[in-house]
Symmetry: C2
Subunit: 240 residues, 2 copies
DNA sequence: GAGTGGTCTAGACCACCCC
DNA sequence: GGGTGGTCTAGACCACTCC
């Protein structure tokens, strides 16, 4: 089950193996895992390698350790939020809906002072400004306006925005996206949102502002989204 | 600087040391850290111990590794959200405001089916129901209703709720809080909220529902909060 | 006392990056 | 080629838990 000659690291093989056993119910919530020394003996690997695998599972919330006692499978949560930073597309798919887009505009404009500030570029530096209505099962779900610095992310096209922007940044440009900070506010629909989202005047709206960063901390994207409150709830998990 | 005879783990001492150097500007964003081997030689410790310290800093976003090149200090983010799960009190302090409370009611009631479902207990099992107006600089900020299973968290008093519930659970009851799932929605103020939060009818409200879990995954708290949208924005950081 | 996780060592070989 | 991080070993001693 563990291939020591594989180019896939041993700790990762073991991690996936245990994760599968949990997902498939071979290891149930509350069950104690074999001890680290037992795994080490079973697969003839070092205990440090076993620990590397289990530490990852602990960080991801699959299992927890009790000093002097053992390692146990965690209970499942009532509602399972998405893990980590996801795109609208991934988010909607996870909610069992079909994502769609309607492009409102796509242009290169000089950065306003506030956009320049968020993207840490000079005022009037060129930025892509892309506004889209995001659809779920063909019903408007959110109005999204994205800003991307042209120097950092050149060659963005409508087609790329239709498929996966993050994949383009990571695969085609070779830049790794690390994280995003999101600011979430409650508001009511303005005239523009009333029209594009097809909601009544003053309907509740969930405003989400996203600042996305590369691995070295460079801002790569600034997005303002207005979600219909009647169709969207934001769900996250936070560790203590 | 590193004390090998201290009961404080070496990796933790090194982690704090590097963190301090970053906070105090001795290591600036973009700077390369000394290599792992260099740290190991300098402090006469094993490279694996150095890696344990740096891995933690990577996970917390302070530094990032580049294969074959080195480890570097991350850029600071534009707006720094709180790290991890925090209480209202901690949150307000971090925002530079003075937190306060006004108790609306404190009672033990039989769990409704929805509360029982969230807390994974039987319907009609006794639960604490605590409703408070949360103040920031003496102005109403949120209306918060908490439910706690009496069997799991016995001995809760008004005084404990005034100080720190999480500390009581962790210190007095010896249970570790692991994480919380939060569901965030946009809404408008109902009559009760209009009165207690002193806002106009139909003002935008940020609804936050929090499900808190212990280390083994047992639900320990269920909280519904209504925040004034004019005074509160929710900020989080998500890793890819 | 036996078993568990927590910490730590002193090496090793690899792939990758830069010169 | 020399330096870097990524992976891995085969031990060790500790504190803690449970019986």
């Amino acid at each position: 089950m563990i291939n020591k000659n594989s180019p896939i690291p041993i700790y990762y093989q073991l991690e996936e193996k245990i994760k599968n056993q949990i997902d498939q119910g071979d290891l149930k919530p509350g069950d104690m895992l074999p001890s680290e020394r037992e795994y080490a003996n079973t697969y003839a690997i070092s205990r440090m390698t076993v620990r590397q695998a289990i530490t990852k599972l602990v960080n991801d919330g699959y299992v927890y350790r009790k000093k002097g006692t053992g390692t146990f499978v965690s209970e499942k949560k009532i509602e399972q939020p998405l893990q980590g930073l996801t795109s609208f597309t991934e988010d909607m798919k996870a909610r069992g809906m079909t994502p769609g887009n309607r492009l409102v505009h796509f242009k290169v404009v000089p950065a306003t002072s506030s956009v320049a500030n968020y993207l840490k570029i000079q005022e009037n530096d060129p930025v892509y400004e892309i506004q889209r209505v995001r659809l779920a099962d063909n019903v408007p779900m959110a109005l999204e306006t994205s800003y991307l610095p042209e120097k950092l992310v050149p060659g963005v096209t409508k087609e790329i925005m239709q498929s996966s922007l993050y994949e383009y940044i990571e695969a085609a440009l070779g830049k790794k996206i690390k994280e995003a900070t999101q600011i979430i506010e409650s508001s009511t629909a303005n005239q523009n949102e009333v029209e594009l989202l097809q909601v009544r005047k003053s309907s509740p709206i969930l405003l989400i502002e996203r600042h996305t960063y590369l691995e070295d901390g460079t801002p790569v994207e600034f997005v303002k989204s207005a979600y219909r409150a009647d169709r969207y709830r934001f769900m996250i998990n936070m560790k203590r």
